[in-house]
Amino acid sequence: MPRSGLLQAMLGTRSLVSLSLGLGLLADASPAGQEEAPRLRTPLSNGAAVFVEAMSKAKTVSVQLIAAARGCEETPATSGLRHLLEHLLVKGRGKDLDYRLESQGMFLSAETFRDFTKIEVACAPDKLGVALSALSELLAPPEIGAEEIAREARIMAEEAALHDAPRRLSAELWSRAFGPIGADPSGSLEVVAAATPEALRALHARHFRASNLVLAIAGPVSVDAATREARKVLEGLPKSETGAWAPREPSDGGSLAVQNALGEARAAVAPGISEPRTAWLLAAALAIAGELPAAFVTYTPSIRPGLVIVGRAASDGRLSRLLQSFRASDETRLFEAGKSLARRWVRAQTDRPSDSGLLHGSLMAQAFGARPDSILQNVDAMTRDQFRSALRELSGAEPPGPADSGSRGGGGSR
């Protein structure tokens, strides 16, 4: 399954927002073992890393293999290959990994994001060893045949047909903001259909090389024991250099808007998870979404520039009207609501093993020192003026006219 960073929660008469939120940041490279008490992050000599968080009240353990997309960022010629690899890889060596895990009360899931791929096994605490063994199976070069690729390409076409309105609106905005390198991680079906086993094995070698990998464990575990077991999985991999991310810069800094039969959405470019402006935009987007039914917010936690998007899966223009109708007197209420909602969602991302493992692990895979701490500080320190600037940035784009089709800041997405 590919993901663009969206989790929606429809809350009856009013909907709110949830987002795969990431906080924190990439500060400086921290030395081994630096983290607050129940968490331990451990760099390995080959470039891989282990993150373990003890969550004593949790019932389940989340074990996640997270591979940064550094060095295999997609271009129009490779769009969708990481997604295809994810589909094929998680079948395991005997093509029955999920069946084996489910028989033991464990569950495997995987998602491809723009900046990383996540493969997760959820299990009871006494099955941690089995989960690690399952994930270690995926580090070996995959055995993939041409027929298997063709079959999976058909399934991926079925998957693409199920993309919902928020997903499609967000994909349109990403493409407008970043051009072809901002394409949805589900990718091009043509590229996927033309993939070869050799290309996928080469991609696996680049994507799952040690310096891109984090093994994240969160749940009711002993930090030391879990770290020890996780190290065994990754330590045998050959050493690799971290390398640099390919640039991802927006084509210009203006606001973005899309309105079509699917609904409407506004976006602003967030500079990176640790930057204060990212926190301001999140608070503003959440405050806007809290005013409307069927609204959504998306943000993919990243150290790289990305989009904060607020939208609504309805074609009645209410989002545009709301944004045009904001008055100065609304800003106090929205400011407080935005702060409260941003704090709540930040905390929600660290409540459960799966969310916390993903948040910490994905940031760590992008840059070892990246931490989900600064966003709360940035939300707390946000002034009304800063919130207002973010609100205006998201509100600023005029809704597109019906004849306008495709230029930046206007046009439909079909």
Partner: protein, 390 residues
């Protein structure tokens, strides 16, 4: 977690459950209204009521409800399923009484203004649902647009003390919630409303922008919530279509390549539960349809071994006890319940209202251990044989 305290105050009075959790930072109040079989006009009115329930009451304005109810960062919500309506509000520690006051006012004295209902219906009509949601809620597109009078009738007919279960979970002292609720619901004995509802209208046009995916459904025969073979039926549902090792995934997706998403689940209906198998496909109906899917699944059932029973057992045990993996009990509009305080409170109220006893995962799992492979196959075959293709 402290075991729920369950009390039926008296006949014709709401069922009441307290789940105190001294470590919680807030409390969640959930009211569950059991719904009878509703005809289309009533269902439409129920949907409208869910949309406007938190707008205004005799004691609270919409702004007050929003301000009070959003303090925890979770807005109040109303969720409608075929067999129940769920009203929920979350309050900070120490404000239980205010929450009880708001929710009881919604139950007893909602203000259902014409213009508010009209606006809510207009919004519902323009909201885009995913292809999957359209399949899951296929009946929704055929519902009429109710009037405020329809909504008031629905409230008078269905939102009643004898159809109600209430759960409160989170930060409060034992007995505190029950006392507050008893005080607020005292003397509530509304007359039962009657009269006809608006009639169904033409289906709402949808998928004008779709990408060609359709949902096929095998709607299997419903069974009672207290069915003696509930454990066997749940196992059969899991073996057929829950998880990636299930037959639906293996056959419809991996072998045939028909579908990316396919799920089997128990759908709550007034009679009990209905097993449903949904799968999405872009393939032409001439090649892929419910009948072809059923035949393929029956062939898979014939090949089931003890390993398939063990996989279904392992998956259900993990999801029912620990919340791991997919849960085939679809008790919320988006699918299964989560593990949070609100969903736990809901289940504590809903299950006794539905079955007459608290939800007991351990007992259910123990019953599953006695299920034989032959029983599993026979049950799955009966379900598939009785399926209606939608």
């Amino acid at each position: 977690m402290i075991a729920p305290l369950l009390a039926v105050l008296a006949a014709q009075e709401p069922l009441f459950v307290e789940i105190p959790d001294p470590e919680a930072a807030h409390c969640v109040l959930v009211a569950v209204v059991k719904l009878p079989e509703l005809e289309a006009g009533e269902r439409a009115a129920a949907r409208a009521f869910a949309s406007v329930a938190f707008e205004e009451t005799g004691r609270f304005s919409a702004a007050q409800i929003r301000a009070w109810g959003s303090q925890t960062g979770v807005p109040p919500r109303a969720l409608l399923m075929p067999d129940h309506l769920r009203l929920e509000i979350s309050m900070p520690k120490g404000q239980l009484d205010t929450g009880v006051s708001i929710l009881s006012s919604i139950l007893r004295e909602p203000v259902l203004r014409d213009e508010v209902v009209r606006e809510a219906m207009a919004q519902l009509r323009t909201q885009e649902r995913s292809v999957w949601q359209r399949g899951l809620w296929a009946w929704d597109s055929r519902l009429p647009a109710p009037t405020a009078e329809d909504v008031r009738k629905f409230h008078g007919r269905c939102v009643r003390p004898e159809a109600l279960a209430i759960a409160v979970a989170g930060a409060f002292s034992p007995g505190e919630a029950e006392e507050a609720w008893t005080k607020r619901l005292q003397g509530w004995s509304p007359p039962k409303a009657s009269g006809a509802f608006s009639q169904p209208s033409a289906p709402r046009p949808e998928d004008a922008h779709g990408q060609g995916a359709r949902i096929f459904e095998l709607a299997m025969p419903p069974f009672s919530a207290t069915d003696a073979a509930f454990a066997t039926r749940l196992l059969a549902v899991a073996a057929l279509g829950v998880g990636k090792g299930a037959s639906a995934f293996r056959v419809l997706r991996e072998e045939r390549g028909w579908s990316y998403r396919q799920e089997t689940f128990l759908w709550p209906v007034p009679l009990g539960f209905q097993p449903r198998l949904l799968f999405a496909t872009t393939r032409p109906e001439a090649d892929v349809n419910g009948r072809a899917a059923r035949d393929a699944l029956k062939a898979a059932v014939a090949e089931w071994t003890q390993a398939d029973l063990s996989r279904a057992m392992g998956l259900l045990e993990a999801t029912l006890k620990h919340g791991i993996g997919p849960n085939p009990l679809y008790l919320a509009p988006e699918g299964p319940l989560g593990q949070g305080l609100a969903d736990r409170a809901f289940l504590a109220a809903y299950w006794p209202l539905k079955t007459g006893r608290p939800f007991d995962a351990d007992k259910l799992i123990a019953q599953m251990r006695y299920v034989r492979l032959s029983d599993l196959k026979e049950t799955a075959n009966q379900m598939l044989d009785g399926a209606i293709f939608v």
